[in-house]
């Protein structure tokens, strides 16, 4: 009973975003889809031609495009989720005062957080699905593996979306977004995306391996290239915990900010 109410109210919050969909939004979504595809072509295919094949930690040798593609997929799931839950969420909370209106209804802060996150996931999942189609068409993975990778991208989106929301609730102004962008870009470059983490010195490698994008890349790469190992269970657990923690912080902080 309690969970159905929670789900219903969260769905109503997400439904608000569906109602607000206007043509300009689809154009913005085109950008979200194109970004990883452009990276895949410029770096995976382009730079890959100079690099040639690459050996995975397990010893298997794959083309550089095959190596980079899963990382671009994970990174696009991350940025899709972060865009929606940082810029858009912060704007709605601070300036449009949209949530004030919602909170005057039975809807609770945690339900707003869940609803917004679900919406970010719907949007992010469209990017991921489209990119997986590109990967299959380019023979970078199999259709079966792509089907398995899809729910993993949804989980990655949830984890980063929850993280983004939690961060948004502690931001003070738009200036703080420079920090998010810098952090996001650092993650994008160094999470085993373009170079295997094994290439880094031990301390750096350890640092890289605890970042959420590294765990995401590891999971997607395991699914799209194989083989799946126990460490991938750890990846899933890591992302589940991040989701729960992010949502919990976001809900708590929203209550502090909006229900003074």
């Amino acid at each position: 009973m309690l969970t159905t109410t929670l789900a219903r109210r969260s769905a109503a919050v997400a439904g608000r975003n569906v109602a607000a969909l206007k043509s300009a939004y689809w154009l913005a979504m085109l950008g979200g889809f194109l970004e990883p595809v452009l990276y895949l072509f410029s770096i995976g295919v382009g730079v890959g031609a100079l690099i040639g094949d690459i050996a995975l930690p397990g010893g298997r040798v794959v083309s550089y495009s095959e190596f980079v593609a899963p990382a671009m997929l994970a990174a696009s799931a991350m940025s899709g989720a972060l865009n929606e839950t940082t810029f858009n969420f912060f704007g709605k909370m601070k300036f449009a005062r949209l949530y004030e209106g919602m909170l005057a209804t039975p809807v609770r802060p945690i339900e707003i957080a869940l609803g917004e996150l679900s919406w970010a996931m719907i949007r992010g999942s469209l990017y991921s699905a489209a990119f997986l189609v590109v990967m299959v068409l380019m023979d970078l993975t199999t259709a079966g593996r792509a089907l398995l990778a899809f729910p993993a991208t949804v989980l990655i989106g949830f984890a980063f979306g929850a993280l983004g929301m939690a961060i948004s609730t502690v931001l003070r102004s738009w200036q703080d977004f420079d920090l998010i962008i810098a952090g996001q870009f650092a993650l994008f470059l160094f999470s085993g995306t373009f170079v295997p983490a094994t290439a880094y010195p031990a301390v750096l490698r350890w640092l890289v391996e605890v970042t959420p994008l590294y765990r995401s890349v590891d999971l997607i790469r395991g699914i799209s290239l194989g083989p799946l190992e126990p460490v991938h269970v750890l990846d899933v657990l890591y992302l589940l915990i991040l989701t729960g923690l992010g949502l919990w912080i976001a809900g708590r902080r929203m209550e502090r900010l909006l229900c003074k």
Binding site: T5, R8, R9, A12, V13, G15, R16, A19, A20, K22, A96, R97, L98, E100, G101, M102, L103, A104, T105, P106, V107, R108, L258, C259, K260
Partner: protein, 306 residues
């Protein structure tokens, strides 16, 4: 307990600042109840506590015989809220603002559409259903917010300064709609710093100042208790204060404001005749009935709208 809203010793503090300082309030079903006071009196903080979006710091607060701390969502499901600043959704159309809002209450889509259409007609925005919110005038936006507050057929409608910032014509239109709601038996709770608004709409009101309730009653009873039947306003061309001695004994009481003197009297015309008999020659004079403004001035020594 029959009160829809019941507060005893209700307190709201923000850090060291006490916004609401131990107020007692009871609102009965079908009543139009007002919080009158200047800006910063604690009206909005009180409204936010009643709206279950701001937890009370201390004291008793029961709404619809429930506890806002524990039953927030269940109480809010039966409240309609019209906030001081419009927070309509600029990305949605006029109609969508109502139908989307209805979904937050779990109202089925079909019912939401029917009710939204009725409410838009009620607030005279039926023809603007497909319009964006942005181009609407201030008065239209406020009426739309009132319609939005009605979408869940609430037991209590909370209106925080419903006509602040509206031009006179728009204000009267809002008043007229609110009066219609009152006639339908909807319980209205509103804050205002306009005495004419309180007199127009409220059956009963409390006067708030500095977080405390300084008087309570119907507008008529408050005026009778704290003011005289009529007031003579006199404007002198030079220092108002220098006329105080010369006016002694004319009325029951007088107040000196920077730009005028108010004489509290039973018979305004007789008092004005007496002023002229004393060869005082005010640049302007006005005889009027006492209003809540006079009550407030008497209770706090300050005017309501500075």
């Amino acid at each position: 307990m029959t009160s829809l809203i019941h507060a005893r010793g209700l307190i709201k503090r923000f850090g060291d600042f006490t916004a609401v300082d131990g107020i007692d309030v009871d609102v009965q079903p079908g009543e139009a109840f007002g919080f009158l006071g200047p800006n910063g009196a604690g009206k909005s903080s009180t409204m936010r506590m009643i709206g279950c979006v701001s937890p009370p710091t201390d004291g008793v607060l029961r709404i619809l015989d429930m506890d806002p701390r524990r039953d927030g969502p269940r109480i809010r499901a039966r409240l309609g809220v019209c906030p001081q600043l419009d927070n309509l959704d600029p990305e949605l159309s006029v109609l969508e603002n109502l139908t989307t809002y209805a979904r937050f209450f779990g109202i089925p889509r079909k019912v939401a559409r029917e009710r939204a259409a009725e409410l838009l007609d009620f607030v005279q925005l039926g023809e603007r259903a497909g319009s964006k919110v942005e181009p609407l005038s201030g008065g239209m936006k406020r009426r739309l917010t009132i319609a939005r507050a009605m979408v869940n057929e609430p037991d209590i409608v909370l209106l925080d300064e419903p006509t602040t910032g509206l031009d006179p014509q728009a204000r009267h239109l809002v008043w007229e709609r609110l009066f219609r709601l009152k006639q339908q038996g909807v319980t209205l709770v509103l804050t205002t710093h306009y005495m004419d608004e309180a007199e127009q709409l409220c059956d009963r009101l409390v006067v708030m100042d500095g977080g405390k309730i300084v008087a309570e009653g119907s507008p008529r009873a408050l005026i009778e208790a704290y003011s005289t039947r009529e007031v003579v306003e006199l404007r002198f061309p030079d220092d108002q204060g220098s006329y105080v001695g010369k006016l002694e004994g004319v009325g029951e009481r007088l107040e000196v404001l920077p730009d005028r003197i108010l004489l509290y009297v039973t018979d305004g015309d007789a008092a004005l005749a007496e002023v002229h008999r004393r060869s005082l020659d005010p640049a302007g004079s006005l005889v009027r009935r006492s209003s809540l403004e006079d009550v407030f001035l008497h209770l706090t020594g300050r005017t309501l709208v500075d």
